[in-house]
């Protein structure tokens, strides 16, 4: 399987989690072999994507890690506050 469009995946996850999907944007850059995604959401919804004790963002990171293992890549996810 070829490497999927992980940026679109991150974007769709963020949209699914918030009430204002239009305010979601994702930028990505490569940093020493790591593909970093920076997610921006409506300021009122930052807590929603992070979740209690960071659990929501951690769950997304866990799935990214599984995908990374599958595609021999490193992905990182940051929520812009």
């Amino acid at each position: 399987m070829t490497e999927p469009d992980i940026k679109s995946w991150v974007e769709s996850m963020a949209r699914d989690l918030v009430d204002h999907p239009d305010a979601v944007s994702v930028t990505s850059f490569e940093d020493e072999g790591v593909l970093v995604f920076e997610v921006t959401v409506d300021p009122s919804e930052v807590g929603r994507v992070i979740g209690r004790q960071g659990r929501t963002v951690q769950a997304v990171r866990t799935l990214l890690e599984a995908a990374g293992a599958r595609h021999a890549r490193y992905y990182e996810l940051e929520i812009v506050e």
Partner: protein
């Protein structure tokens, strides 16, 4: 934590989730896993206790590493996105019975540790567990009797301390709390 409980279904009785909900869960699970480029397939079925999502396929092992963390993450996100903080029938993700196996193993280890704690009269600490797993252990050890359990630590994962109850004499009574 709200998302980890069964809670009341949003409508109707305990028995059935609305069919659209089951289809939505299956579609969402398929989209999440497919978008990650994992060669797996998700099938959702409505059972009495939960909406069960079964994951099968060649790439399932990627979701099972670190004690099934990937399955847990998928389960958490499905509940979060489908119910958006409202209560509903719990969505539970499994993969060829992996979860059941792990649960059996956790209870088995807890029972063995409790026997040891009781025999030695020493407190014993289990590895970190999530709330659902802790509940299984608390219930199993309450039934066993002779020990007390309490959760130790902060956050989502906590450890359980098994404390032997001081019993003067050798006699062991059947547990008296019903």
């Amino acid at each position: 934590m709200l998302d980890d409980r069964g809670g009341e279904p949003s409508e109707g009785g305990e028995g059935q989730a609305p069919p659209t909900e089951v289809a939505d869960v299956e579609r969402l699970a398929g989209r999440i896993l497919g978008g990650l480029g994992l060669d797996v397939r998700a099938t959702a079925t409505d059972t009495e206790a939960a909406i069960r999502v079964d994951v099968t396929g060649n790439d399932r092992d990627y979701l099972l590493s670190h004690r099934g963390q990937g399955l847990g993450a998928l389960q958490y996100l499905l509940n979060r996105i489908i119910y958006r903080g409202h209560r509903g029938k719990k969505i539970q993700v499994d993969c060829d019975g992996f979860r059941k196996l792990r649960e059996d193993e956790i209870v088995e280890v807890a029972l063995r540790s409790a026997e040891k704690a009781r025999a030695r009269g020493e407190e014993c600490l289990l590895s970190p567990l999530n709330p659902y797993e802790r509940r299984l252990v608390h219930l199993a050890l309450a039934e066993l009797g002779g020990v007390e359990t309490r959760s130790v630590g902060d956050g989502f994962l906590k450890r359980i301390a098994i404390v032997p109850l001081a019993k003067p004499g050798a006699g062991r009574e059947p547990d008296d709390h019903s």
